[in-house]
């Protein structure tokens, strides 16, 4: 019998498996894709501190380093944030095809068993343990485990199998398309973000530099978008980068519903996108997935030691992720609800009113400045930011 079966070898699942295995647990990590990390569903940005908390940065999985972020209002007004102040997604641009495999390798080196092209498709709880049904290339079999960790991404079905309803509504996700583009002109020292209802309703367009070319992508909120994200992105690209070449296409979805009530059930913990851990403002989810994986791993170790896999015991995991970033998710969801209502003219006004001579441009400093000039605009959201 396994101590832990981890479903999904994204960053969340691999860090969970690694943490469990390092602490002596008997771990199985299953991934339904035949190649870990492919197809990519990510713009690949992560801040240096968020990455370095869990893995030593290696040249072979870092595609590019940037020094900050440039954010553009609909009329083109630009603000620049330094790397430390730009949030969890700016600093390194990863090569996730390599990064995700590297994390799985760390889990495997620590002693976890890894199976690819293997789907966990059903779960049966009985006598305090779980029988997990697995399928690989048409062959089906069962394994037993004390704990299941659902790290199965935005398309999670593990949650539902254990009675947690994480179904998203059209105003709780970003529908995304991204091109890897070459033959385009941009400042490669920055990640770039374009805001505005007309450009990307309920989301934004990004450009993240890579070693060759850049990830140019869009997320829109389906409840607000009149067309598919691909159509909005194609308009932007043909206007801005008419000579650009598209050498890769990525589609994806990011959960932006904010903090869920609980990510545990008897014998189960949910990690990363499966637990809707992505940031409701930026859509970044790698950092939180790794943090959650680490906490879930730690709690699994304690649970096995005590022989207690009940929801009640596993609630310790809820406490850990909520204390770390749960409140931030809740606050950002509220802020997102306000931001998506702003029209383009208001955004322009806000961007234009940010004095060019602010020395330390941080989100907080910007908000304070705007607040001085347009108290009415921000009265609504001041509690959320300050």
């Amino acid at each position: 019998m396994f101590d832990v079966v981890v479903v999904g070898a994204g960053p969340g699942g691999s860090i969970t498996a690694k943490t469990c295995a390092e602490n002596g647990l008997n771990v199985l990590l299953v991934e339904k894709r035949q190649e870990i990390g492919v197809p990519v569903r990510c713009a690949e940005g992560i801040s240096k501190s968020a990455l370095e908390r869990f893995v030593e940065p290696k040249k072979f999985f870092i595609s590019r380093e940037v020094v900050g972020a440039k954010i553009y209002a609909p009329d083109g007004t630009e603000i620049t944030l330094s790397e430390e102040r730009a949030g969890n997604e700016v600093g390194y641009v990863l090569e996730r095809k390599v990064f995700d495999r590297y994390l799985a390798k760390l889990a495997s080196n620590a002693g976890a068993e890894v199976l690819v092209k293997t789907t966990a498709y059903a779960f049966e709880r009985k006598d305090g343990i779980v029988r997990v049904k697995l399928r690989r290339m048409g062959e089906e079999w069962e394994v037993e485990t004390k704990i299941v960790v659902g790290a199965d991404g935005v398309e999670s079905r593990v949650a539902k199998a254990f009675g947690i309803d994480t179904t998203l509504k059209p105003n709780e996700l970003e529908s995304c398309v991204q091109y890897l583009m070459t033959n385009i002109d941009f400042d490669p020292d920055y990640c770039h973000f374009w805001l505005g209802k007309s450009i990307a309703p309920g989301g934004y367009i990004w450009l993240f530099p890579k070693k060759v070319g850049a990830n140019v992508g869009i997320g829109v909120m389906p409840s607000l978008a009149k067309r598919s994200p691909k159509e909005y992105l194609d308009d932007f690209v043909s206007e801005r980068f008419p000579n650009g070449r598209i050498v890769e296409l990525v589609a994806g979805a990011v959960p932006v519903c904010g903090e869920i009530e609980s990510a545990v059930a008897d014998n189960l913990m949910l990690v990363g996108d499966a637990a809707r851990h992505a940031d409701p403002i930026t859509g970044g989810g790698i950092a939180n997935a790794m943090k959650a994986g680490y906490y879930a791993g730690k709690v699994a170790v304690e649970a096995v030691k005590r022989g207690d896999f009940s929801k009640n015991f596993l609630k310790r995991y809820d406490k850990l992720w909520k204390d770390d970033f749960g409140k931030d998710l809740a606050r950002k969801r509220k802020l997102q609800q306000k931001l998506i209502k702003m029209d383009d003219e208001t955004l322009n006004k806000i961007f234009r009113s940010i004095p060019k001579n602010i020395k330390e441009l941080s989100v907080r400093a910007i908000v304070l400045e705007i607040f001085k000039k347009h108290p009415k605009l921000l009265w609504d959201i001041k509690d959320l930011i300050l």
Partner: protein, 64 residues
């Protein structure tokens, strides 16, 4: 009686999972490398169509 179900255009689908994340009825799943719709569970609500980034889904009337 005709009923409504979602169908996927496999040539457009980019295997992203957006549709699965919004289906209340467990009527779709990303299998190893393709999207499967379980017609017996699908009620044609169209939620998945709305969120698909690739315009790969539509709801059709099906006679069986």
């Amino acid at each position: 009686m005709p009923r409504k179900v979602a169908v996927v255009n496999r040539y457009r689908c980019a295997y992203c999972g957006a549709c699965v994340s919004v289906c209340k009825f467990n009527a779709n799943e990303l299998i190893e490398t393709f999207l499967q719709i379980y017609e017996d569970r699908c009620n044609g609500c169209g939620m998945c169509v709305k969120v698909c980034p690739m315009n790969a889904l539509e709801v059709i009337e099906c006679s069986t």
